[in-house]
Amino acid sequence: MHNGSGADALVIDGLHVSVDGMPILKGIDLQVPKGEVHALMGPNGSGKSTLANTLMGHPAFEVTGGSVTFKGQDMLELETDERARLGMFMAFQYPSEITGVRVSNFLRMALNAQREDEISAMEFRRLMMEKMRLLRMDPKFAGRYLNEGFSGGEKKRNEILQMAVLQPELAILDETDSGLDIDALRIVADGVNTLRSADMATLVITHYQRLLNYIVPDVVHVLIDGRIARTGGKELALELDESGYEAMTAAQEA
């Protein structure tokens, strides 16, 4: 990695994680500096979502070794909401449907949770409108119950809307492309590209290369069986697309 890590980077060092006593991540070393987009690719069961949720602090994932730091802080010491307030964000693969909670009310509460002073109703409204326009969302969306009755595409757009409003310093996109048709994929990718900035580190997790045609990564990592098998430039994704994960798995085992 050319850029060096810097104190603000996400730094994962020798991370081991188990679920129900079964090791899933077996020593992950990964650094995502601010201003860069890294892609994490891998076959089903390689541990991609485990890594994402471990970073976010899901209680089911038990860290048995290694460390995670972000902005110089030990993330593993923090609760999920403390990580979020530190500037971390994860776009969920399967966002929860929460009845009775309106998108706008929820987002305002979330935004206020990480601000010193409360955002005014007017300012918040303006912010919502701007971000919803960016993602080509119907304004009525703000008044709907959180993910309830949303189509797959609406759920993913709602995740990116939350990211746009909360403006994280570290964004993890967990299989945001799954279940999206090409139009929805393009809208979501456009949104993410607009949010790319020197202040944000981004980790895009995906099974398929397709998303990376639209969100072009600086670095690609390949996760196989709980370890980073290869790291390279964006061309690595294309190579995978041609030869598949099997070839790489075989190479790793050889």
Partner: protein
């Protein structure tokens, strides 16, 4: 056992004393006396009665109940009642001393709305009271508590919205006081085609809370009328209460009723609607939020007596601490009541393992062309939901509260009057009597 002359308990004499004190007409006195006879003849509820199988009444010593004294006067509407937010067209304050009409808006005045102390109304407007009071809505034959209220209600209010009148702002009826036994009685009627909303509020007085409230609410909704009704039970945790509430709904009339309970250590409510003429439309809502060791028992009845009626019930509860709830709902469809649509749904959210919610649906359907469904769900907080909300920076407490508040929205969505809806939301999402009790004040 020594007899304490200052606490004689309730007797037939109490009925006469009360009728004398309120200068009630003979027909009302006779009605009270007949109810008293029924009260005495009716055995105390027992655990072997189906209605009381899950509800413990051992705390109640029937023989030590005493009549309220008319000195139980209260000052004004207690500060806890959100009068300003409701901006009522009429405010009626009810205590053992009777009903006092505090405020009447020009809107209510020009609409000809009648709001009176019930005993006074029995004298001055008998035509509005006699046919309805303790007859086809809440009658003394229905049980011990109903007979007791019919015999000795003290602090009654009459609200009548005349034929064709339309009232935008709600009528607020606040019952409060700190008598040992408080027996409010609300008789409300809407004339043909009238439209109004009525909010009944059981509150502590500034002096304290009653030991036992045994209240009755009778609602009459005439042809084509539309009533939005809400009942709020927000008593402190040392109070116990029993509510008998029944609506009689006429041809093509609409009732949207919502019972919200957050208070008291024991609350037993009968919530009943009778669709007596064709085309009646009834929405019955209930929302309760309990903590500590609160106990709530709702028995609901949707009684379809005529054709083409619709009734739709949703009761939702959230239980924390060591709270318990019982819900038993019956849908009755008379052989006459063809083309009935009746729905019943009870949902409970248990916030911890010390809580318990029992749900018992019952259908008695005697017509064949009927659409009827019922369902009950009891769930716990979904950890994945908490995780999702916390991943956006909400603390665990904030996330829980947001989920609970969202849980009640399905009920609140069904309250047609926006002002009433907002006030009910505030009751459910603000500090509850259980919260105050937990905080130690």
């Amino acid at each position: 056992m020594a007899i304490d002359a200052r606490a004689p308990g309730l007797t037939r004499r109490s009925v006469d004393d009360l009728a004398d004190a309120q200068r009630e007409p003979d027909w009302l006195r006779a009605r009270r006396q007949a109810a008293w006879d029924l009260y005495e003849a009716t055995p105390n509820p027992r655990r072997t009665d189906e209605e009381w199988r899950r509800t413990d009444l051992r705390w109640l010593q029937w023989e030590s109940l005493t009549p309220s004294t008319p000195q139980d006067v209260v000052g004004g509407v207690p500060a806890a009642v959100p009068t300003a937010a409701l901006s009522p067209s009429i405010t009626v304050l009810v205590s053992a001393a009777g009903a006092r009409v505090i405020d009447v808006s020009p809107e209510a005045q020009s609409a000809g709305v009648v709001a009176l102390d019930l005993a006074e109304a029995a004298r001055s407007r008998p035509e509005l009271v006699r046919d309805h009071l303790s007859t086809t809505a809440v009658s003394p034959e229905q049980g011990k508590f109903q007979a007791l209220n019919a015999a000795l209600w003290q602090g009654g209010a009459l609200v009548h919205v005349p034929r064709g009148a339309v009232l935008a702002q709600p009528i607020l009826v606040v019952a409060c006081g700190d008598a040992a036994l408080q027996q409010p009685h609300l008789l409300a009627s809407l004339g043909e085609g009238a439209q109004a909303s009525i909010v009944e509020w059981w509150a502590d007085s500034e002096a304290g809370s009653p030991a036992l409230v045994n209240g009755a609410t009778e609602l009459f909704v005439a042809s084509g009328a539309q009533l939005t009704y809400a009942h709020v039970q927000a008593l402190a945790l040392d109070a116990r209460s029993v509510l008998s509430q029944r609506a009689v709904v006429g041809r093509d009339a609409t009732l949207a009723s919502t019972n919200v309970t957050v208070g008291g250590r024991f609350h037993k409510a009968r919530v009943e609607a009778s669709l007596v003429e064709p085309g009646a439309n009834v929405v019955l809502n209930g929302a309760f939020r309990l903590g500590r060791r609160q106990f709530v028992d709702h028995h609901t009845t949707q009684e379809h007596l005529a054709t083409d009626g619709t009734s739709d019930l949703l009761f939702a509860g959230v239980l924390d601490g060591r709270a318990r709830s019982v819900y038993a709902g019956t849908i009755v469809v008379d052989p006459e009541a063809q083309r009935t649509n009746a729905y019943q749904n009870n949902r409970n959210l248990l916030l911890n393992s010390g809580t318990r919610a029992d749900s018992i649906p019952r259908l008695e359907i005697m017509a064949d062309d009927v659409r009827c469904t019922h369902g009950a769900t009891t769930s716990t907080l979904e950890p994945s939901h908490l995780y999702y909300l916390r991943s956006r920076g909400l603390s665990e407490a904030q996330a829980r509260e947001l989920i609970v508040e969202g849980y009640f929205e399905a009920v609140l969505d069904r309250v047609p009057h926006e002002g009433v809806r907002d006030v009910l939301r505030e009751v459910l999402t603000g500090q509850t009597p259980a919260d105050r009790d937990a905080a130690g004040n």
